[in-house]
Protein backbone atom coordinates (compact mmCIF):
# COMPACT_ATOMS: atom_id res chain seq x y z
CA UNK A 1 0.00 0.00 0.00
CA UNK A 2 2.97 2.29 0.40
CA UNK A 3 3.44 3.40 -3.16
CA UNK A 4 -0.14 3.54 -4.34
CA UNK A 5 -0.45 6.14 -7.00
CA UNK A 6 -2.88 8.84 -6.01
CA UNK A 7 -3.41 11.51 -8.64
CA UNK A 8 -3.21 14.91 -7.07
CA UNK A 9 -5.63 16.21 -9.65
CA UNK A 10 -8.71 14.46 -10.92
CA UNK A 11 -8.38 12.22 -13.95
CA UNK A 12 -11.25 12.77 -16.38
CA UNK A 13 -13.14 9.68 -17.37
CA UNK A 14 -12.68 10.22 -21.09
CA UNK A 15 -9.03 9.37 -20.81
CA UNK A 16 -7.35 12.48 -22.11
CA UNK A 17 -6.93 15.68 -20.18
CA UNK A 18 -8.15 18.89 -21.62
CA UNK A 19 -6.57 22.25 -20.88
CA UNK A 20 -9.38 22.95 -18.43
CA UNK A 21 -8.76 19.69 -16.58
CA UNK A 22 -5.09 20.37 -16.26
CA UNK A 23 -5.58 23.87 -14.96
CA UNK A 24 -8.82 23.70 -13.08
CA UNK A 25 -7.32 23.90 -9.61
CA UNK A 26 -5.70 27.15 -10.68
CA UNK A 27 -8.82 28.50 -12.42
CA UNK A 28 -11.43 27.43 -9.89
CA UNK A 29 -10.39 29.73 -7.02
CA UNK A 30 -10.59 32.72 -9.36
CA UNK A 31 -14.03 31.77 -10.58
CA UNK A 32 -15.30 31.25 -7.05
CA UNK A 33 -13.68 34.33 -5.66
CA UNK A 34 -14.17 36.94 -8.36
CA UNK A 35 -17.87 37.85 -7.96
CA UNK A 36 -17.44 38.58 -4.25
CA UNK A 37 -14.08 40.22 -4.77
CA UNK A 38 -15.24 42.50 -7.58
CA UNK A 39 -18.35 43.63 -5.72
CA UNK A 40 -16.41 44.13 -2.52
CA UNK A 41 -13.70 46.10 -4.29
CA UNK A 42 -16.21 48.34 -6.03
CA UNK A 43 -18.50 49.00 -3.07
CA UNK A 44 -16.17 48.81 -0.09
CA UNK A 45 -12.46 49.08 -0.87
CA UNK A 46 -12.68 51.72 -3.56
CA UNK A 47 -15.04 54.00 -1.60
CA UNK A 48 -12.59 54.02 1.32
CA UNK A 49 -9.84 55.33 -0.94
CA UNK A 50 -12.24 57.82 -2.47
CA UNK A 51 -13.39 59.13 0.91
CA UNK A 52 -9.80 59.92 1.84
CA UNK A 53 -9.51 61.84 -1.42
CA UNK A 54 -12.80 63.72 -0.97
CA UNK A 55 -11.74 64.74 2.54
CA UNK A 56 -8.98 66.85 0.98
CA UNK A 57 -11.52 68.94 -0.91
CA UNK A 58 -14.12 71.58 -0.47
CA UNK A 59 -17.18 70.13 -2.16
CA UNK A 60 -20.93 70.69 -1.92
CA UNK A 61 -21.77 67.45 -3.72
CA UNK A 62 -22.87 69.14 -6.94
CA UNK A 63 -20.35 71.66 -8.20
CA UNK A 64 -16.67 71.11 -8.92
CA UNK A 65 -14.37 69.91 -6.14
CA UNK A 66 -11.79 72.35 -4.90
CA UNK A 67 -8.59 70.93 -3.50
CA UNK A 68 -7.79 72.42 -0.10
CA UNK A 69 -5.26 69.96 1.25
CA UNK A 70 -5.67 69.40 4.96
CA UNK A 71 -7.96 72.40 5.33
CA UNK A 72 -10.92 70.34 6.51
CA UNK A 73 -8.85 68.66 9.17
CA UNK A 74 -7.45 71.96 10.39
CA UNK A 75 -10.96 73.35 10.70
CA UNK A 76 -12.19 70.23 12.50
CA UNK A 77 -9.39 70.10 15.01
CA UNK A 78 -8.97 73.78 15.70
CA UNK A 79 -12.24 75.56 15.12
CA UNK A 80 -15.12 73.12 15.39
CA UNK A 81 -16.43 72.73 18.92
CA UNK A 82 -19.08 70.27 17.83
CA UNK A 83 -16.29 68.01 16.71
CA UNK A 84 -14.86 68.09 20.19
CA UNK A 85 -18.27 67.24 21.63
CA UNK A 86 -18.59 64.37 19.16
CA UNK A 87 -15.19 62.91 20.10
CA UNK A 88 -15.93 63.20 23.81
CA UNK A 89 -19.30 61.54 23.29
CA UNK A 90 -17.67 58.76 21.27
CA UNK A 91 -15.31 58.13 24.17
CA UNK A 92 -18.28 58.04 26.56
CA UNK A 93 -19.95 55.49 24.32
CA UNK A 94 -16.79 53.42 24.07
CA UNK A 95 -16.13 53.36 27.81
CA UNK A 96 -19.68 52.90 29.02
CA UNK A 97 -20.52 50.34 26.36
CA UNK A 98 -17.88 48.15 27.96
CA UNK A 99 -20.42 47.63 30.72
CA UNK A 100 -22.37 45.38 28.39
CA UNK A 101 -19.87 42.47 28.48
CA UNK A 102 -19.93 42.79 32.28
CA UNK A 103 -23.74 42.92 32.47
CA UNK A 104 -23.90 40.20 29.85
CA UNK A 105 -21.71 37.90 31.91
CA UNK A 106 -23.74 38.62 35.04
CA UNK A 107 -27.00 37.89 33.22
CA UNK A 108 -25.58 34.73 31.70
CA UNK A 109 -24.46 33.48 35.11
CA UNK A 110 -27.89 34.27 36.48
CA UNK A 111 -29.66 32.40 33.68
CA UNK A 112 -27.34 29.41 33.44
CA UNK A 113 -29.61 27.09 35.41
CA UNK A 114 -31.81 24.21 34.54
CA UNK A 115 -35.28 25.07 35.73
CA UNK A 116 -38.72 25.00 34.18
CA UNK A 117 -39.15 27.51 31.37
CA UNK A 118 -35.51 28.56 31.27
CA UNK A 119 -35.17 28.23 27.51
CA UNK A 120 -38.10 30.54 27.04
CA UNK A 121 -36.72 33.03 29.54
CA UNK A 122 -33.34 33.01 27.83
CA UNK A 123 -34.96 33.68 24.45
CA UNK A 124 -36.92 36.59 25.84
CA UNK A 125 -33.84 38.05 27.49
CA UNK A 126 -32.23 37.96 24.08
CA UNK A 127 -35.19 39.70 22.51
CA UNK A 128 -33.91 43.31 22.54
CA UNK A 129 -31.04 42.36 20.24
CA UNK A 130 -33.34 40.99 17.56
CA UNK A 131 -35.46 44.08 17.16
CA UNK A 132 -34.32 47.06 15.14
CA UNK A 133 -32.42 49.91 16.78
CA UNK A 134 -35.08 52.20 15.34
CA UNK A 135 -37.69 50.41 17.42
CA UNK A 136 -35.40 50.38 20.46
CA UNK A 137 -34.98 54.12 20.01
CA UNK A 138 -38.73 54.69 19.76
CA UNK A 139 -39.39 52.46 22.75
CA UNK A 140 -36.91 54.37 24.88
CA UNK A 141 -38.06 57.79 23.67
CA UNK A 142 -41.48 56.78 24.90
CA UNK A 143 -40.00 55.37 28.10
CA UNK A 144 -38.12 58.63 28.77
CA UNK A 145 -40.96 60.95 27.75
CA UNK A 146 -41.06 63.66 30.45
CA UNK A 147 -44.85 64.14 30.40
CA UNK A 148 -46.06 60.57 30.23
CA UNK A 149 -43.03 58.27 30.12
CA UNK A 150 -42.90 55.20 32.32
CA UNK A 151 -39.58 56.32 33.79
CA UNK A 152 -41.17 59.36 35.35
CA UNK A 153 -44.18 57.39 36.49
CA UNK A 154 -41.79 55.10 38.35
CA UNK A 155 -39.74 57.99 39.74
CA UNK A 156 -42.87 59.72 41.01
CA UNK A 157 -44.05 56.46 42.50
CA UNK A 158 -40.81 56.38 44.46
CA UNK A 159 -41.40 59.94 45.61
CA UNK A 160 -38.61 61.37 43.42
CA UNK A 161 -38.89 64.42 41.20
CA UNK A 162 -39.53 63.78 37.52
CA UNK A 163 -36.79 64.32 34.96
CA UNK A 164 -36.51 65.02 31.27
CA UNK A 165 -33.61 62.79 30.17
CA UNK A 166 -33.43 63.71 26.50
CA UNK A 167 -33.44 67.48 26.95
CA UNK A 168 -30.55 67.68 29.37
CA UNK A 169 -27.41 68.80 27.53
CA UNK A 170 -25.22 67.33 30.22
CA UNK A 171 -26.75 63.90 30.61
CA UNK A 172 -28.48 63.18 27.30
CA UNK A 173 -25.66 60.99 25.98
CA UNK A 174 -25.73 58.82 29.08
CA UNK A 175 -29.44 58.19 28.68
CA UNK A 176 -29.00 57.21 25.05
CA UNK A 177 -26.13 54.90 25.98
CA UNK A 178 -28.40 53.31 28.59
CA UNK A 179 -30.84 52.52 25.79
CA UNK A 180 -27.98 51.15 23.68
CA UNK A 181 -26.80 48.91 26.51
CA UNK A 182 -30.11 47.12 26.48
CA UNK A 183 -29.65 45.23 23.17
CA UNK A 184 -25.87 45.06 23.52
CA UNK A 185 -26.11 43.34 26.90
CA UNK A 186 -28.44 40.81 25.35
CA UNK A 187 -25.86 40.08 22.67
CA UNK A 188 -23.02 39.66 25.16
CA UNK A 189 -25.25 37.48 27.30
CA UNK A 190 -25.84 35.05 24.48
CA UNK A 191 -22.09 34.86 23.79
CA UNK A 192 -21.43 34.04 27.44
CA UNK A 193 -24.28 31.55 27.68
CA UNK A 194 -22.76 29.65 24.77
CA UNK A 195 -19.35 29.91 26.40
CA UNK A 196 -20.66 28.63 29.73
CA UNK A 197 -22.24 25.69 27.97
CA UNK A 198 -18.83 24.59 26.84
CA UNK A 199 -16.93 25.05 30.07
CA UNK A 200 -15.02 21.92 31.06
CA UNK A 201 -17.34 20.28 33.61
CA UNK A 202 -14.64 18.08 35.14
CA UNK A 203 -12.47 21.02 36.10
CA UNK A 204 -15.44 22.73 37.71
CA UNK A 205 -16.34 19.60 39.69
CA UNK A 206 -12.73 19.11 40.78
CA UNK A 207 -12.51 22.67 42.04
CA UNK A 208 -15.84 22.31 43.81
CA UNK A 209 -14.61 19.17 45.60
CA UNK A 210 -11.46 21.04 46.58
CA UNK A 211 -13.74 23.53 48.25
CA UNK A 212 -12.98 26.53 46.04
CA UNK A 213 -15.34 29.43 46.61
CA UNK A 214 -17.62 30.50 43.77
CA UNK A 215 -15.65 33.69 43.36
CA UNK A 216 -12.30 31.89 43.09
CA UNK A 217 -13.78 29.44 40.62
CA UNK A 218 -15.16 32.22 38.46
CA UNK A 219 -11.86 34.03 38.53
CA UNK A 220 -9.46 31.10 38.14
CA UNK A 221 -11.39 28.54 36.11
CA UNK A 222 -14.42 29.97 34.39
CA UNK A 223 -13.18 33.30 33.10
CA UNK A 224 -10.02 31.92 31.46
CA UNK A 225 -12.15 29.36 29.64
CA UNK A 226 -14.58 32.07 28.61
CA UNK A 227 -11.82 34.13 26.99
CA UNK A 228 -12.95 33.45 23.40
CA UNK A 229 -16.44 34.67 24.32
CA UNK A 230 -15.01 37.70 26.10
CA UNK A 231 -12.83 38.55 23.14
CA UNK A 232 -15.77 38.39 20.78
CA UNK A 233 -17.94 40.38 23.20
CA UNK A 234 -15.32 43.12 23.38
CA UNK A 235 -14.92 43.23 19.61
CA UNK A 236 -18.64 43.52 18.88
CA UNK A 237 -19.08 46.04 21.68
CA UNK A 238 -16.26 48.29 20.49
CA UNK A 239 -17.54 48.18 16.94
CA UNK A 240 -21.12 48.74 18.13
CA UNK A 241 -20.18 51.73 20.26
CA UNK A 242 -18.25 53.45 17.48
CA UNK A 243 -21.05 52.74 15.03
CA UNK A 244 -23.71 54.29 17.26
CA UNK A 245 -25.91 56.22 14.91
CA UNK A 246 -29.45 54.88 14.79
CA UNK A 247 -30.32 55.57 18.41
CA UNK A 248 -29.03 59.13 18.26
CA UNK A 249 -30.82 59.82 14.98
CA UNK A 250 -34.08 58.48 16.38
CA UNK A 251 -33.98 59.76 19.93
CA UNK A 252 -32.46 63.24 19.74
CA UNK A 253 -31.19 63.95 16.22
CA UNK A 254 -27.93 64.94 17.87
CA UNK A 255 -29.61 67.48 20.13
CA UNK A 256 -30.30 69.32 22.27
CA UNK A 257 -28.02 71.80 20.47
CA UNK A 258 -25.66 69.15 19.19
CA UNK A 259 -24.87 67.88 22.66
CA UNK A 260 -25.52 64.19 21.93
CA UNK A 261 -23.77 64.03 18.56
CA UNK A 262 -21.05 61.48 17.81
CA UNK A 263 -18.63 61.28 14.89
CA UNK A 264 -20.90 58.95 12.92
CA UNK A 265 -23.84 61.30 13.29
CA UNK A 266 -21.86 64.47 12.71
CA UNK A 267 -20.52 63.07 9.46
CA UNK A 268 -24.01 62.31 8.23
CA UNK A 269 -25.22 65.75 9.23
CA UNK A 270 -22.36 67.67 7.62
CA UNK A 271 -22.62 65.77 4.36
CA UNK A 272 -26.36 65.45 3.85
CA UNK A 273 -27.73 68.52 5.61
CA UNK A 274 -24.96 71.11 5.38
CA UNK A 275 -23.82 69.90 1.94
CA UNK A 276 -20.21 69.82 3.07
CA UNK A 277 -19.08 66.54 1.53
CA UNK A 278 -15.37 67.17 1.98
CA UNK A 279 -15.82 68.17 5.59
CA UNK A 280 -18.05 65.18 6.28
CA UNK A 281 -15.54 62.88 4.61
CA UNK A 282 -12.84 64.26 6.91
CA UNK A 283 -14.96 63.33 9.94
CA UNK A 284 -15.46 59.86 8.46
CA UNK A 285 -11.73 59.45 7.89
CA UNK A 286 -11.01 60.30 11.52
CA UNK A 287 -13.64 57.82 12.69
CA UNK A 288 -12.16 55.26 10.32
CA UNK A 289 -8.63 55.76 11.66
CA UNK A 290 -9.95 55.53 15.19
CA UNK A 291 -11.66 52.25 14.35
CA UNK A 292 -8.66 50.90 12.41
CA UNK A 293 -6.73 50.62 15.65
CA UNK A 294 -9.26 48.13 16.94
CA UNK A 295 -9.61 46.36 13.61
CA UNK A 296 -5.83 45.91 13.45
CA UNK A 297 -5.77 44.51 16.96
CA UNK A 298 -8.55 42.08 16.12
CA UNK A 299 -6.98 41.01 12.84
CA UNK A 300 -3.52 40.34 14.25
CA UNK A 301 -5.05 38.10 16.91
CA UNK A 302 -7.10 36.31 14.30
CA UNK A 303 -4.20 35.77 11.92
CA UNK A 304 -2.02 34.52 14.76
CA UNK A 305 -4.74 31.99 15.55
CA UNK A 306 -4.57 30.73 11.97
CA UNK A 307 -0.86 30.08 12.07
Amino acid sequence: MTDTFLPSRPVPRSGFRTWFDRHQTRIAPWVFLSPALVLFAVYVIYPIVQSFWISLHDWDGLGPMEFIGLGNYVELLLYDFDFETAVINNVKWLVLFMLSPVFGLATALFLNQNVWGIRFVKSLFFFPFVISQVVVGLVFTWFYDPANGLLNVILEGLGLPGISPLSSETYVTFWIIAAGLWPQTAYCMILYLTGLNNVDAEQVEAARIDGASSWTMLHKIILPQLWPATFLAIVVTVIGSLRSFDLIAIMTNGGPWGSSTVLAFKMYEEALFNYRMGYGAAVAVILFLFMSVFIAWFLTRLVRQER
Binding site: V11, T25, P29, P47, L138, L191, A229, M291
Partner: protein, 329 residues
Protein backbone atom coordinates in the same frame (compact mmCIF):
# COMPACT_ATOMS: atom_id res chain seq x y z
CA UNK B 1 -21.99 23.41 35.32
CA UNK B 2 -21.30 26.83 36.71
CA UNK B 3 -22.74 28.39 38.82
CA UNK B 4 -23.86 25.58 41.13
CA UNK B 5 -27.15 24.11 39.89
CA UNK B 6 -29.95 25.61 41.89
CA UNK B 7 -31.65 22.30 42.67
CA UNK B 8 -28.64 21.32 44.77
CA UNK B 9 -29.53 24.17 47.11
CA UNK B 10 -32.31 24.41 49.65
CA UNK B 11 -36.01 24.94 49.00
CA UNK B 12 -35.86 28.60 49.97
CA UNK B 13 -33.10 29.29 47.44
CA UNK B 14 -35.04 27.44 44.78
CA UNK B 15 -38.22 29.39 45.30
CA UNK B 16 -36.36 32.69 45.48
CA UNK B 17 -34.50 31.92 42.28
CA UNK B 18 -37.59 30.94 40.33
CA UNK B 19 -39.49 34.02 41.43
CA UNK B 20 -36.52 36.29 40.78
CA UNK B 21 -36.16 34.79 37.30
CA UNK B 22 -39.63 35.76 36.16
CA UNK B 23 -39.63 39.11 37.92
CA UNK B 24 -36.34 40.07 36.31
CA UNK B 25 -37.70 39.01 32.95
CA UNK B 26 -40.63 41.38 33.34
CA UNK B 27 -38.33 44.22 34.43
CA UNK B 28 -35.96 43.49 31.52
CA UNK B 29 -38.80 43.66 29.02
CA UNK B 30 -40.65 46.53 30.71
CA UNK B 31 -40.05 49.06 27.92
CA UNK B 32 -41.41 46.58 25.38
CA UNK B 33 -44.38 45.62 27.52
CA UNK B 34 -45.19 49.30 27.83
CA UNK B 35 -45.21 49.65 24.07
CA UNK B 36 -47.35 46.56 23.60
CA UNK B 37 -49.85 47.89 26.13
CA UNK B 38 -49.92 51.30 24.50
CA UNK B 39 -50.62 49.77 21.11
CA UNK B 40 -53.98 48.45 22.30
CA UNK B 41 -55.17 51.62 24.01
CA UNK B 42 -57.89 53.96 22.84
CA UNK B 43 -57.15 57.51 21.77
CA UNK B 44 -59.25 58.72 24.73
CA UNK B 45 -56.96 56.91 27.15
CA UNK B 46 -53.96 58.54 25.57
CA UNK B 47 -55.36 62.05 25.58
CA UNK B 48 -56.61 61.67 29.14
CA UNK B 49 -53.10 60.62 30.17
CA UNK B 50 -54.05 57.09 31.14
CA UNK B 51 -50.84 55.63 29.81
CA UNK B 52 -49.88 53.19 32.48
CA UNK B 53 -53.09 52.20 34.20
CA UNK B 54 -55.20 49.39 32.86
CA UNK B 55 -56.73 50.41 29.50
CA UNK B 56 -60.38 51.40 29.83
CA UNK B 57 -61.03 49.40 26.73
CA UNK B 58 -58.67 47.06 24.94
CA UNK B 59 -58.51 47.57 21.18
CA UNK B 60 -57.06 44.24 20.14
CA UNK B 61 -56.55 45.14 16.51
CA UNK B 62 -58.08 48.55 15.69
CA UNK B 63 -54.86 50.53 16.09
CA UNK B 64 -53.01 48.03 13.93
CA UNK B 65 -55.67 48.21 11.25
CA UNK B 66 -55.57 51.98 11.39
CA UNK B 67 -51.78 52.03 11.08
CA UNK B 68 -52.09 49.89 7.96
CA UNK B 69 -55.00 51.63 6.30
CA UNK B 70 -54.19 55.28 6.94
CA UNK B 71 -50.47 55.16 6.09
CA UNK B 72 -48.15 53.47 3.58
CA UNK B 73 -47.09 50.96 6.24
CA UNK B 74 -47.93 48.00 4.04
CA UNK B 75 -45.82 49.47 1.25
CA UNK B 76 -42.87 49.89 3.65
CA UNK B 77 -43.20 46.30 4.79
CA UNK B 78 -43.25 45.11 1.20
CA UNK B 79 -40.17 47.21 0.43
CA UNK B 80 -38.38 45.69 3.40
CA UNK B 81 -39.14 42.22 2.09
CA UNK B 82 -38.03 43.15 -1.43
CA UNK B 83 -34.77 44.52 -0.04
CA UNK B 84 -34.06 41.81 2.48
CA UNK B 85 -34.78 38.60 0.60
CA UNK B 86 -32.59 39.25 -2.49
CA UNK B 87 -29.81 40.51 -0.23
CA UNK B 88 -29.87 37.33 1.82
CA UNK B 89 -29.77 35.13 -1.27
CA UNK B 90 -27.11 37.20 -3.01
CA UNK B 91 -24.68 37.65 -0.17
CA UNK B 92 -24.94 34.08 1.06
CA UNK B 93 -24.40 32.71 -2.46
CA UNK B 94 -21.39 34.92 -3.16
CA UNK B 95 -19.92 34.16 0.23
CA UNK B 96 -20.34 30.41 -0.13
CA UNK B 97 -18.25 30.51 -3.28
CA UNK B 98 -15.67 32.95 -1.95
CA UNK B 99 -15.50 31.14 1.38
CA UNK B 100 -14.86 27.89 -0.44
CA UNK B 101 -12.07 29.47 -2.47
CA UNK B 102 -10.42 30.96 0.61
CA UNK B 103 -10.72 27.79 2.66
CA UNK B 104 -9.64 25.19 0.13
CA UNK B 105 -7.06 26.77 -2.12
CA UNK B 106 -3.74 28.42 -1.74
CA UNK B 107 -4.05 31.73 -3.47
CA UNK B 108 -0.87 33.52 -4.28
CA UNK B 109 -0.57 37.13 -3.07
CA UNK B 110 -0.68 38.14 -6.74
CA UNK B 111 -4.48 38.31 -6.56
CA UNK B 112 -4.41 40.79 -3.75
CA UNK B 113 -1.67 42.85 -5.37
CA UNK B 114 -3.57 43.05 -8.64
CA UNK B 115 -6.85 43.90 -6.91
CA UNK B 116 -5.32 46.73 -4.93
CA UNK B 117 -3.42 47.85 -8.03
CA UNK B 118 -6.56 48.00 -10.15
CA UNK B 119 -8.47 49.88 -7.45
CA UNK B 120 -5.74 52.49 -7.18
CA UNK B 121 -5.34 52.76 -10.96
CA UNK B 122 -9.06 53.34 -11.45
CA UNK B 123 -8.97 55.89 -8.69
CA UNK B 124 -6.04 57.70 -10.30
CA UNK B 125 -7.76 57.86 -13.66
CA UNK B 126 -11.22 58.90 -12.49
CA UNK B 127 -10.34 61.28 -9.68
CA UNK B 128 -6.92 62.73 -10.16
CA UNK B 129 -6.71 62.51 -13.92
CA UNK B 130 -3.06 61.46 -13.98
CA UNK B 131 -1.01 61.66 -17.15
CA UNK B 132 -0.72 58.58 -19.36
CA UNK B 133 2.97 58.16 -18.56
CA UNK B 134 2.36 58.14 -14.83
CA UNK B 135 -0.47 55.64 -15.23
CA UNK B 136 1.66 53.37 -17.40
CA UNK B 137 4.44 53.59 -14.86
CA UNK B 138 2.06 52.64 -12.09
CA UNK B 139 0.61 49.73 -14.02
CA UNK B 140 4.12 48.53 -14.78
CA UNK B 141 5.02 48.72 -11.10
CA UNK B 142 1.93 46.73 -10.13
CA UNK B 143 2.60 44.06 -12.74
CA UNK B 144 6.24 43.89 -11.69
CA UNK B 145 5.42 43.46 -8.02
CA UNK B 146 2.81 40.85 -8.89
CA UNK B 147 5.49 39.04 -10.92
CA UNK B 148 7.93 39.20 -8.04
CA UNK B 149 5.31 37.90 -5.64
CA UNK B 150 4.25 34.99 -7.83
CA UNK B 151 6.32 32.48 -5.92
CA UNK B 152 6.09 34.25 -2.59
CA UNK B 153 5.15 32.12 0.38
CA UNK B 154 2.85 34.74 1.82
CA UNK B 155 -0.53 33.21 2.42
CA UNK B 156 -2.52 35.20 -0.13
CA UNK B 157 -5.78 33.51 0.83
CA UNK B 158 -5.28 34.64 4.41
CA UNK B 159 -4.58 38.22 3.33
CA UNK B 160 -7.73 38.29 1.22
CA UNK B 161 -9.67 36.80 4.10
CA UNK B 162 -8.34 39.51 6.40
CA UNK B 163 -9.45 42.11 3.88
CA UNK B 164 -13.00 40.78 3.91
CA UNK B 165 -13.07 40.75 7.72
CA UNK B 166 -11.64 44.24 8.03
CA UNK B 167 -14.19 45.56 5.54
CA UNK B 168 -16.91 44.16 7.71
CA UNK B 169 -15.88 46.27 10.69
CA UNK B 170 -15.30 49.66 9.13
CA UNK B 171 -17.66 52.53 9.95
CA UNK B 172 -20.42 52.98 7.38
CA UNK B 173 -19.68 56.68 7.15
CA UNK B 174 -16.40 56.15 5.33
CA UNK B 175 -18.42 54.57 2.51
CA UNK B 176 -21.35 56.93 2.58
CA UNK B 177 -20.48 59.69 0.09
CA UNK B 178 -18.77 57.52 -2.57
CA UNK B 179 -21.45 54.80 -2.40
CA UNK B 180 -24.15 57.41 -2.73
CA UNK B 181 -22.43 58.93 -5.75
CA UNK B 182 -21.83 55.51 -7.27
CA UNK B 183 -25.46 54.49 -6.79
CA UNK B 184 -26.55 57.77 -8.34
CA UNK B 185 -24.29 57.38 -11.35
CA UNK B 186 -25.60 53.85 -11.89
CA UNK B 187 -29.12 55.30 -11.94
CA UNK B 188 -30.10 53.31 -8.86
CA UNK B 189 -30.54 56.11 -6.34
CA UNK B 190 -33.86 55.92 -4.52
CA UNK B 191 -34.52 52.40 -5.77
CA UNK B 192 -34.72 49.02 -4.12
CA UNK B 193 -32.04 47.61 -6.44
CA UNK B 194 -29.57 50.25 -5.34
CA UNK B 195 -29.94 49.24 -1.71
CA UNK B 196 -29.83 45.54 -2.54
CA UNK B 197 -26.60 45.72 -4.52
CA UNK B 198 -24.85 47.68 -1.82
CA UNK B 199 -26.11 45.42 0.96
CA UNK B 200 -24.95 42.33 -0.92
CA UNK B 201 -21.50 43.82 -1.39
CA UNK B 202 -21.14 44.88 2.22
CA UNK B 203 -22.62 41.79 3.85
CA UNK B 204 -20.34 39.62 1.76
CA UNK B 205 -17.57 40.55 4.20
CA UNK B 206 -19.33 39.03 7.18
CA UNK B 207 -20.63 36.07 5.21
CA UNK B 208 -17.18 35.23 3.86
CA UNK B 209 -15.79 35.26 7.39
CA UNK B 210 -18.48 32.82 8.40
CA UNK B 211 -18.42 30.50 5.39
CA UNK B 212 -14.66 30.30 5.12
CA UNK B 213 -14.32 29.20 8.75
CA UNK B 214 -17.10 26.70 8.37
CA UNK B 215 -15.68 25.16 5.19
CA UNK B 216 -12.18 25.14 6.66
CA UNK B 217 -13.46 22.97 9.49
CA UNK B 218 -14.91 20.33 7.15
CA UNK B 219 -12.99 17.03 7.09
CA UNK B 220 -10.46 17.25 4.33
CA UNK B 221 -10.80 13.52 3.51
CA UNK B 222 -14.29 14.09 2.11
CA UNK B 223 -13.02 16.67 -0.33
CA UNK B 224 -9.99 14.66 -1.34
CA UNK B 225 -12.17 11.58 -1.84
CA UNK B 226 -14.43 13.51 -4.22
CA UNK B 227 -11.42 14.64 -6.21
CA UNK B 228 -10.11 11.09 -6.48
CA UNK B 229 -13.52 10.00 -7.69
CA UNK B 230 -12.95 12.34 -10.59
CA UNK B 231 -15.15 15.25 -9.64
CA UNK B 232 -13.96 18.53 -11.03
CA UNK B 233 -13.74 21.54 -8.74
CA UNK B 234 -17.17 22.83 -9.67
CA UNK B 235 -18.85 19.49 -9.14
CA UNK B 236 -16.98 19.27 -5.86
CA UNK B 237 -18.45 22.59 -4.78
CA UNK B 238 -21.96 21.82 -5.93
CA UNK B 239 -22.34 18.18 -4.91
CA UNK B 240 -20.05 17.91 -1.91
CA UNK B 241 -19.50 21.27 -0.24
CA UNK B 242 -22.94 22.83 -0.60
CA UNK B 243 -24.83 19.95 1.04
CA UNK B 244 -22.32 19.93 3.87
CA UNK B 245 -22.59 23.64 4.60
CA UNK B 246 -26.37 23.73 4.73
CA UNK B 247 -26.44 24.50 8.47
CA UNK B 248 -24.09 27.44 7.89
CA UNK B 249 -26.26 28.69 5.04
CA UNK B 250 -29.30 28.60 7.30
CA UNK B 251 -27.54 30.37 10.15
CA UNK B 252 -26.19 33.05 7.86
CA UNK B 253 -29.54 33.58 6.19
CA UNK B 254 -31.38 34.33 9.43
CA UNK B 255 -28.60 36.61 10.63
CA UNK B 256 -28.40 38.59 7.42
CA UNK B 257 -32.18 38.76 7.28
CA UNK B 258 -32.20 40.39 10.69
CA UNK B 259 -29.30 42.75 9.94
CA UNK B 260 -30.81 43.97 6.70
CA UNK B 261 -34.36 44.19 7.97
CA UNK B 262 -33.13 46.36 10.82
CA UNK B 263 -30.89 48.58 8.71
CA UNK B 264 -31.65 52.24 9.07
CA UNK B 265 -28.55 54.14 8.01
CA UNK B 266 -28.40 52.99 4.40
CA UNK B 267 -32.13 53.41 4.02
CA UNK B 268 -31.60 57.07 4.90
CA UNK B 269 -28.63 57.49 2.59
CA UNK B 270 -29.69 55.60 -0.53
CA UNK B 271 -33.48 56.00 -0.77
CA UNK B 272 -35.96 58.70 0.07
CA UNK B 273 -39.40 58.08 -1.46
CA UNK B 274 -42.19 55.92 -0.09
CA UNK B 275 -41.88 53.57 -3.04
CA UNK B 276 -38.46 52.32 -1.91
CA UNK B 277 -38.22 53.09 1.79
CA UNK B 278 -38.03 50.09 4.11
CA UNK B 279 -40.02 49.89 7.32
CA UNK B 280 -37.27 51.25 9.59
CA UNK B 281 -37.04 54.55 7.72
CA UNK B 282 -40.78 54.49 7.10
CA UNK B 283 -41.69 54.27 10.74
CA UNK B 284 -39.46 57.23 11.54
CA UNK B 285 -41.13 59.20 8.74
CA UNK B 286 -44.57 58.29 10.08
CA UNK B 287 -43.56 59.48 13.50
CA UNK B 288 -43.58 63.04 12.23
CA UNK B 289 -47.06 62.49 10.88
CA UNK B 290 -48.47 60.80 13.96
CA UNK B 291 -46.92 63.26 16.44
CA UNK B 292 -48.52 62.34 19.75
CA UNK B 293 -50.60 59.39 18.61
CA UNK B 294 -48.48 57.03 20.64
CA UNK B 295 -50.94 54.19 20.21
CA UNK B 296 -50.25 54.25 16.45
CA UNK B 297 -46.51 54.67 16.81
CA UNK B 298 -46.49 51.72 19.19
CA UNK B 299 -48.54 49.57 16.85
CA UNK B 300 -46.24 50.49 13.96
CA UNK B 301 -43.14 49.70 16.00
CA UNK B 302 -44.47 46.29 16.89
CA UNK B 303 -45.29 45.52 13.28
CA UNK B 304 -41.78 46.61 12.25
CA UNK B 305 -40.18 44.42 14.90
CA UNK B 306 -42.27 41.36 14.19
CA UNK B 307 -40.57 39.73 11.16
CA UNK B 308 -37.09 39.46 12.70
CA UNK B 309 -38.66 38.28 15.94
CA UNK B 310 -40.59 35.54 14.15
CA UNK B 311 -37.43 34.63 12.24
CA UNK B 312 -35.52 34.42 15.49
CA UNK B 313 -38.04 32.15 17.18
CA UNK B 314 -38.45 29.94 14.13
CA UNK B 315 -34.74 29.50 13.59
CA UNK B 316 -33.43 30.07 17.09
CA UNK B 317 -30.81 27.33 17.03
CA UNK B 318 -29.31 28.52 13.75
CA UNK B 319 -29.51 32.13 14.77
CA UNK B 320 -27.57 31.62 17.96
CA UNK B 321 -25.10 29.27 16.31
CA UNK B 322 -24.36 32.00 13.80
CA UNK B 323 -24.10 34.79 16.29
CA UNK B 324 -21.83 32.95 18.67
CA UNK B 325 -19.49 31.66 16.01
CA UNK B 326 -16.07 31.85 17.63
CA UNK B 327 -17.40 32.22 21.16
CA UNK B 328 -16.09 28.75 21.95
CA UNK B 329 -12.81 27.23 20.89
Amino acid sequence: MFPTPIHKRGTAANITYRVALWVSLVVWLLPLIAVALTSVRTLEDITRGNYWGWPTEILWYQNYVEAFTRTPLARYMLNSVLITVPTVIGSVALAAMAGFALAQYRISPVVLTLTVGVVIAVFMVTNIGVSATLLLGFVAAVVASAWLLRRSRWPGELLLFAMFIAGNFIPFQILMIPVRELTRSLGMYDSIEGLVVFHIAFQTGFCVLFMRNFIKALPYEVIEAARIEGANEFQLFWYVILPLVRPALAALSVLIFTFIWNDYFWALVLVQSDSAQPITAGIQALRGQWVASWQLISAGSIIAALPPVIMFFAMQRHFIAGLTLGAVK
